[in-house]
Symmetry: C2
Subunit: 529 residues, 2 copies
């Protein structure tokens, strides 16, 4: 932590507006050079990916999120054209909505409700909060989200919208149209529009794969608009395609600047010299900190309220990309890096106690934002000291306190939170993830483990229907979980049957009632009709 080490390792690019300090990661002197062969392989992998290789072999897909901000890179004219014309159509659509040329039942749209999950919600949520209410202005539209299949959660959002529902534009985002949570949210929203006497088709927009089920429905029902999702953009890297850009443009965020920031970052991250490549520096630090096997957690601590959701965004980007059972050669490796964090200095009052004194199973990434506030009013909270000075003081102080007790950290600095720097941060982490995946030899672009949970959920739904049918077939009959399991010929599923029965009995609309038994597993469940 001497000034000499800092000086020799500090990456700073004033034109871009990004600095990366790795001096508080005490890797040995030969670490960076020792990694060069692996790193060169990673650079070659990324170059091939950008050139249109099938970088996601399991799904036989190209991985094209870097083209979104630099269409010239795209491997075919068709792709180039699709990217540029879609961007234009987003901007045109948003402008018409803002002018009221596209409007709803009660005139001008004032609210956007985004229905999506995972990559189709986390990016838009992060960006909406990071870049909303910038520079004194109000946002062009308010924004809210259905990001789950929780009925009460949707009711909560609808209550928040209240009578503004009639001025709400709904953006349904689902590549296949088959994601259950999004489909359910769409159906629940449609019911709410109908209940308010509104023709939902005049309020709904689809963002989906061309020809998908959702696309067909939207076309048939005459929705306001349809925008494409491409199979060469994965969910967790979709913030800079329609998924992220449409909600952002509607909110009034300068999406061209986000794209420009990401493009500028990408250009730098293509440099083959490690010391000029911040994404490579970051990826190598992950590798060193975690032994290239996720041995430590990644704690993300931005000292800026607007970046509160960045850690949640990165949780998806990093963990879904890197958390893999097998490497590309098929060996079981159980890779991944756990990511968590919220914001400083707030988190100092939550868990920095453990970071400083407790189990040393993490490294921190501090994110520093130099500009304190838009209007540069500098109230002195003490003589000569502003709130922003305190914010920086807490960041630097905490960093020192952690270093003192041998807890390591990276520090990333940006001049301000703006569309450009958000584009930079997104692109920095996308590339770092890609490089790290190459270093440890995994496919960062698939998510095979997600299927197991979906499949298991499907079998629970199937069982639920069988339970329903059995109860209906014997009205007035009281079943215990065990007797129902026997009747269904599924004794191995008794626990699931018990859980489903408890759920049914807790929701009167199901028609199932419970009679408590002693012991608890003698409780019985009945349908009267």
């Amino acid at each position: 932590m001497t000034w000499d080490r800092f000086k020799s390792l500090y990456y700073t690019n004033s034109k871009l507006g990004l600095s990366v300090d790795i001096s508080r990661m005490p890797f040995p002197d030969d670490f960076l050079t020792s990694m060069e062969p692996k790193l060169n392989k990673a650079f070659a992998d990324l170059a091939a990916l950008e050139g249109g290789a099938i970088a996601n072999p399991d799904e036989n897909r190209m991985v094209g999120h870097y083209w979104l901000r630099n269409p010239e890179l795209a491997p075919t004219t068709e792709l180039r054209e699709a990217i540029t014309s879609t961007l234009e159509s987003i901007k045109t659509f948003a402008a018409k909505v803002h002018k009221g040329e596209i409007s709803g039942a009660a005139g001008k749209f004032k609210e956007v409700l985004v229905i999506g999950i995972g990559g189709s919600a986390l990016g838009p949520q992060f960006v909406s909060h990071a870049l909303g209410r910038l520079k004194g202005g109000r946002d062009k539209m308010g924004i809210s989200f259905f990001d789950n299949t929780d009925p009460d959660g949707m009711d909560y959002v609808l209550k928040g919208l209240g009578s503004r529902l009639k001025q709400t534009l709904v953006v349904v985002i689902s590549k296949s149209g088959g994601t259950a949570e999004t489909r359910n949210g769409m159906l629940e929203a449609q019911v709410a529009f109908k209940a308010a006497g509104l023709d939902y088709a005049k309020h709904f927009v689809a963002v989906t794969g061309e020809g998908s089920k959702l696309d067909q429905v939207a076309q048939k029902e005459g929705w306001l608009a349809r925008f494409p999702m491409w199979d060469w953009v994965g969910g967790r890297t979709s913030e800079l395609c329609v998924v992220g850009l449409l909600p952002a443009a509607l909110q009034g965020i300068k999406i061209d600047q986000m794209l420009a920031g990401a493009a500028a970052m990408d250009a730098v991250n293509r440099k083959k010299s490690l010391r000029d490549n911040p994404a490579a520096l970051v990826a190598l630090m992950w590798y060193w900190a975690t032994d290239g096997r996720g041995a430590k957690d990644m704690v993300i601590l931005p000292y800026k309220d607007r970046l509160l959701l960045f850690s949640r965004y990165l949780q998806q980007l990093v963990m879904e990309s890197l958390g893999k059972e097998r490497d590309l050669a098929g060996n079981v490796v159980n890779q991944g890096i756990a990511v968590y964090g919220n914001k400083g200095s707030t988190d100092q009052h939550a868990y920095v106690q453990q970071l400083r004194d407790g189990v040393n199973n993490f490294f921190v990434t501090f994110i520093e934002v130099l500009k304190d506030r838009a209007d540069d009013q500098s109230l002195e909270v003490e003589p000569g000291v502003t709130s922003g000075d305190f914010l920086q003081g807490f960041l630097l102080g905490t960093r020192d306190a952690l270093s003192e007790s041998n807890r390591h950290s990276i520090t990333i600095t940006v001049p301000e939170v703006s569309p450009k720097t958000i584009g930079i941060l997104i692109a920095l982490y996308e590339r770092a993830v890609g490089i790290y995946a190459s270093l440890v030899g995994i496919n960062a672009y698939h998510q095979p483990g997600v299927e197991a949970g979906k499949k298991a959920a499907g079998s629970v739904i199937t069982l639920k229907l069988a339970i329903d049918a059995a109860l209906r077939a014997a009205p007035g009959t009281a079943f215990t979980a065990e007797s129902l399991a026997a009747k269904l010929g599924q004794p191995a599923k008794t626990e699931t049957i018990f859980k489903v029965l408890e759920h049914l009995a807790s929701n009167p609309g199901s028609g199932v009632t419970k009679t408590a038994g002693k012991p608890w597993f003698e409780s019985s469940y009945t349908r009267e009709t």
Copy 2:
């Protein structure tokens, strides 16, 4: 995971409304009995704590959060009286605010702005979201937070309030009155009130230690009201004292039911028989999962939108309580358990990929809520299947998928999200933390590591003032970080001086300008006057 194991281990208490399933934690048969001696010690420790022992020896304090919901337990008449009369004064105050008998510059208060950090924000934020907009009703008041010293973050909240500032009641929460973030937030809010031509004293309420600096200011300036914070309630267990109850009552949440839920949970958690004590079961599972040394992370996955912030609340409660360098005997143990999570099924689309396939360094706690929605409308999203059925299906399916790949989980079930069940969940985890701390022999009630960061922050602020003074003393002189460090006689602080100069130059109000140099460390910084 057979039904027999589930049956034999399931804890359920229908009167309370809580079930705990530990059957998916594959501890050996003799584990529970082997822990009995340690557990009995923990029960004795907790009994002593509840009896008024100095359970926080370092700070020579009693630990009395259990008395808050059962004042009869408090060791003296004075304490009992303080708890009950304060609860009455909260309810009276909230009722008067709701009726408009206590009002502000523009009549009835419609908004609450809570200014606090750590325990003085996380609990109120969690509860506000969990219990807002319940059962069709609108909340009595809107609620927002200053929970940091980020100037832009405060501007963001103030922009959200807009002209409603004049109808805003401000609750400033700080035990000592000396927490910098809260003090700064208070000062920034006062400036906003003044700028709007409002007398802030007519809008401000203090929640603070009797006789504290804040208490004195509030009294002198004639604030609307003052409420006590007691030194025997720690920040992370303060949700059920004024800190949490006053904001909740103002929002219109039934605080008596929260207290009743917690009291009922406490009564159960005092049982000396492990199998009848859910907090002990949970604490033992933490011990088994983490080898009693934080070897695995705790992932909290409530399948309910309203419980989104529960993991963040628990992050503080668990990590600040358990993340300790030394045990009670003074040995270096570096204890703690890392906590993260958001909500299901949303997180399935973010990081369950890694949980299922990646590095196996965690155990999950699923939180299941049986009731789907308040009004029990059950739209069928597919024949015979509701959105709520899908939510349960995803929970059970994910749990199965994790079990299959040897990832362990606890499941906690509550009938609904209500003031009572929130009280239950808070009390369950408070007690589990207390028991676990006893099992591993640490003081759960202090936070010595937080001081180091604060102290280091203070020295950054001191350095900032010295830098300011040096620049002012030599107007027009360009300093590099190195030359200024030399002038200040602090070459060891060159990095911090550089960081402070960069921050100053990014905020025009500071009067410091930067001239970029090549290489970067030749950049210079000047004040003209």
